[in-house]
């Protein structure tokens, strides 16, 4: 019962957004209307506008969001995998810093409010002419995702029994082949999961995009704020963009949830 109340609370705003995306401005400004076909007549007006010819920056922003998300996630997972594998597989000692301390240090970036870094990055980018550039955004997002990737992948690599790589060594394979033939195939699910999570983090970001871009490299969240600042917010249109922005993270979540149900390493040892 309590749960049902919470679920209603959690789901209603989402329903409202979806409904709004199919309303006309008149439906909206006549006060709240709830049920399609009874309260109001659904239209695809906002969608025509969104995908239509006289469209503003939707396609460019969408492409940017996609590019930044996919590239930064790729880099973060790639570089993160090296670091995570190293931290899981070897023993490090730099002065007082051992594996756990190194991992903690790298991950601690997530504790820092991004506003602290972003001002300095703004000035630096200004000097390097990286402001409002796609490369600059990809690098910034990679840095932003990297701690997350290391954190997730280190756990994952630690779950792969060390005996499997040892067995491959005894079976006659060198380091590189062991990684390619045994470790990475086993880590593939983890790499995929980390990739998707990093993608969503980049995709969802607002602050970096707000400060470091203004025209060429803007993303969908920036488009939403731009539409919002107009005097009469175009709710119907905003809702439609909002839905487009919401969909990838939700797909990822559904996919991950299914994924986590499966035992990844069953049957490996014993």
């Amino acid at each position: 019962m309590l749960l049902a109340i919470w679920l209603a609370f959690a789901l209603f705003p989402i329903y409202w957004t979806v409904a709004t995306a199919f309303k006309t401005p008149i439906d909206i400004y006549q006060g709240p209307k709830y049920v399609p076909f009874i309260d109001f007549h659904p239209t695809v007006m906002s969608w025509e506008r969104l995908f239509g010819p006289q469209n503003f920056s939707f396609f460019k922003d969408f492409a940017n969001s996609l590019l930044f998300g996919s590239m930064s996630a790729l880099l973060a997972v790639l570089l993160g995998a090296f670091a995570a594998y190293g931290l899981a597989q070897y023993r490090y000692k730099f002065g007082f810093y051992k594996n756990d301390d190194i991992a903690y240090l790298l991950v601690s970036q997530r504790f820092m409010p991004p506003i602290v870094a972003v001002l300095a990055i703004y000035i630096t980018y200004q000097k390097l002419s990286l402001l409002d550039s796609r490369l600059g955004m990809i690098l910034a997002y990679t840095a932003f995702d990297l701690p997350l990737a290391i954190f997730l992948l280190r756990n994952f690599f630690e779950q792969i029994p060390v005996e499997l790589e040892q067995a491959a060594a005894i079976d006659g394979y060198g380091k590189v082949e062991r990684l390619l033939r045994v470790v990475f195939p086993l880590a593939a699910p983890g790499l995929a999961a980390a990739y998707m999570i990093c993608f969503v983090f980049s995709w969802n970001d607002f602050l970096f995009a707000l400060i470091l871009t203004f025209d060429n490299a803007t993303t969908l969240p920036i488009m939403i704020t731009n539409l919002n600042t107009q005097m009469q917010p175009m709710w119907w249109l905003l809702s439609a963009v909002g839905i487009v922005v919401m969909v990838p993270p939700v797909i990822v979540a559904v996919f991950l949830d299914r994924y986590m149900q499966r035992q990844v390493l069953r049957g490996g040892v014993r």
């Binding site: 090296f82 490090y92 506003i115 300095a120 707000l210 704020t225 919002n228």
Partner: protein, 321 residues
Amino acid sequence: MRPSKSTARPARNATKRLMLAPAFLFFAAFTIFPLIFTAYVSLSAWNIGGRHIFIGLANYRSILGDITYLLSLRNTVLFTLATTFIEYVLGFGIAYLVNGVARWQRPIRLAVLLPMLLTPIVVGFIWKMMLDPSFGPIDSVLRHLGLPRINWLSSAVPAFMGIVLADTWEWTPFMFLILFAGLRSLPTEPFESARVDGASPWRIFWDLTFPLMIPASAAAILLRSVESFKLFDIVYLITAGGPGVATSTVSLDAYFTGLRAGDLGSAAAMTIILLIIVIVVTMSFLQLVARFGQSKMRPLSSPKDLASSRANSRTQVHETR
């Protein structure tokens, strides 16, 4: 004893270090350097055009006398306290309820998690619609119930509450996620033995569930409160800090000061103070957990127990190594 995981001989030390190099490079370029640079900027009069001179602590002095900044700071702290507390209690409750659900658990779980997955800026927009005084559904519900209408976004306290509401909606699922995972990873056998030992559900909750959830609770609270300190997106979209500066946060203030007003030096100082607060709060929270954990997890302790607990924890460390 845990055997070394190393399959390497000394010659491979280079490979081993090379693996960490890119991560450290990014860490240095996007965390360490900006941190130092920001600290330096905060000690300068630095405008957005690029001209700057060193002025020592003048920026700090001026912002600490600036009522907007002080309000933003207060808002940030209050906001963090309020949301973290509300979300923890709700999150624990929902996790406990969902954990007890036998059928349809997967779709329920997904539905509970949904708000957290949405892009924060979209969440901001959604709640701006929801709270709209003329066209929003909340307003209409209040009207139907015959309650007074609240002009959510144009007076100070309701606007603050509105932001808290939106944040609670968005981030309670995060608390749920961690606490639910915590509940699920609790071993089942102690609970079964408590049932056989004759403990009532109420006692089982307070003797077992709650103390065993302390690590998960601490993690959830810590992560969530650190995130709350960063609050920016939804406030930017819903109120932009308004009315006046009633809902401004440090991040927001720094953004407007630095990039809209062009005073990067002051903005940097604002963020440095925020960072110091986050560090202090995090550290003291961890300390608190360590102490609270000690006493809460040993409700029956006699002095003799406490004396041995230090030796005990050392043995434990040894075992896990």
